[in-house]
Amino acid sequence: MKTNVGSGDRGITSLLSGERVPKSHLRVDACGEVDELSSVLGACAAALSPAHTDLQREIQGVQSDLLHIGAWLATSPGSPTRQMLRTISPGRLREIEDAIDRLEAELPPLQSFLLPGGHATAAWAHIARTVCRRAERRVQSLAAEAEEPVTESAEGILPYLNRLSTYLFALARYCNKLHGVPDTTWKG
């Protein structure tokens, strides 16, 4: 796949459905947030040692989901292109929930607020969590303010981002545990 170069030099870009829109368009903005989330997840995976390839693969699975979500967000409602796009299935949501349960089973119960940080992988996972929440807010804005019917955009995407934030919080704590770094609790 080759990347397009130059047609957006003047601040206008194409949606996947073909419309030319300013790069400040809410739909482009939402795609950008999802892209940023994927990039931060990439940093998290890269910081993991080769001993944790299973976790890296799990993160790459999420990055793959995010590409599909980005494609959906980059396509106007009503466009025939939407019929070609994959949405997040209920089965995929259950996989994320199962992953949350798997990670949390390895962790002590949470007694207090945590200060994000610790091992570098955990710090990246915390950043990913906050970017994920921002992406979720942008998608919600798109649903509320643009032409996107809530039911359509919520078809998998909003529940997925909501679950993913929880997963990333658990992942951050798990990464600290993996590397023998205790979570730092908030002393108030």
């Binding site: 990347t3 397009n4 030319r20 995929r92």
Partner: protein
């Protein structure tokens, strides 16, 4: 999980036809269960090398056809140019969203070189009545001209080098700038990065309200 899994298909190189000194068409056996829509591509995998090629055949074609530009020292195009017939190949797909969509705006297809492949596939699926700006360096590089001309409402061969009877001398973007009436269109652009940049810019400036679908050089 519904998203993200890519299933590889295995096929064999059935035939190869040189279309010009710089491009050739290959025919691949169609694996069972492989379906695609006109405008989509497949990704040929050969060891660490992967390249996307648009399918240049109708969705119900018995064989899968690719139009390949032979890139000097290009890993995949050289492999496809030289591999003995019968060679086993792996590909994934279908990929891409470069699909024709009916709308109230007149469709304008713009192709350069081997970028004409998805339009040939669309014609095979019954798409017709479009304007096609077909760009090439020389007349012998206007691949699939006869079929495309027959299905077009307006077929404009544009030669960036040299002249030929019935051909516009200049780039496709030059023709569009000089002759396309001001209104909104559905542009479908497949070819070189430079063409896509130029025509997209033209669409922004001269044809507001247009949709621009792009696919870079497959």
């Amino acid at each position: 999980m519904k998203t993200g899994r890519v299933i590889p298909f295995t096929t064999r190189l059935r035939d190869r036809t040189w279309l010009s000194e710089k491009a050739f068409q290959v025919a691949l056996d169609r694996p069972g269960g492989f379906r695609f829509l006109s405008g989509q591509s497949i990704r040929i995998v050969n060891g660490p090398a992967e390249r996307d090629y648009s399918l240049a055949c109708a969705p119900d074609s018995e064989l899968l056809m690719l139009c390949v530009r032979h890139v000097p020292h290009g890993i995949l195009s050289t492999f496809l140019a030289e591999a003995p017939l019968g060679t086993s190949l792996t590909f994934t797909g279908p990929h891409g969203y470069f699909l024709f969509q009916n709308s109230s705006r007149p469709p304008v297809f713009v192709a350069t070189g081997a970028g004409v492949a998805p339009f040939f596939s669309m014609v095979g699926a019954g798409v017709s009545g479009f304007t096609l700006l077909h760009g090439a360096r020389t007349a012998n590089e206007l691949y699939y001209e006869m079929h495309l001309r027959a299905a077009s409402a307006l077929y404009v061969p544009c030669l960036s080098e040299g002249n030929a009877a019935g051909c516009f001398s200049g780039r496709v973007s030059d023709w569009a700038a000089e002759h396309l009436s001001p209104r909104a269109y559905d542009f479908y652009l497949c070819g070189s990065r430079e063409m896509i940049r130029d025509v997209t810019r033209l669409a922004d400036e001269r044809f507001p309200g247009s949709l621009v679908h792009t696919e870079i050089f497959h």
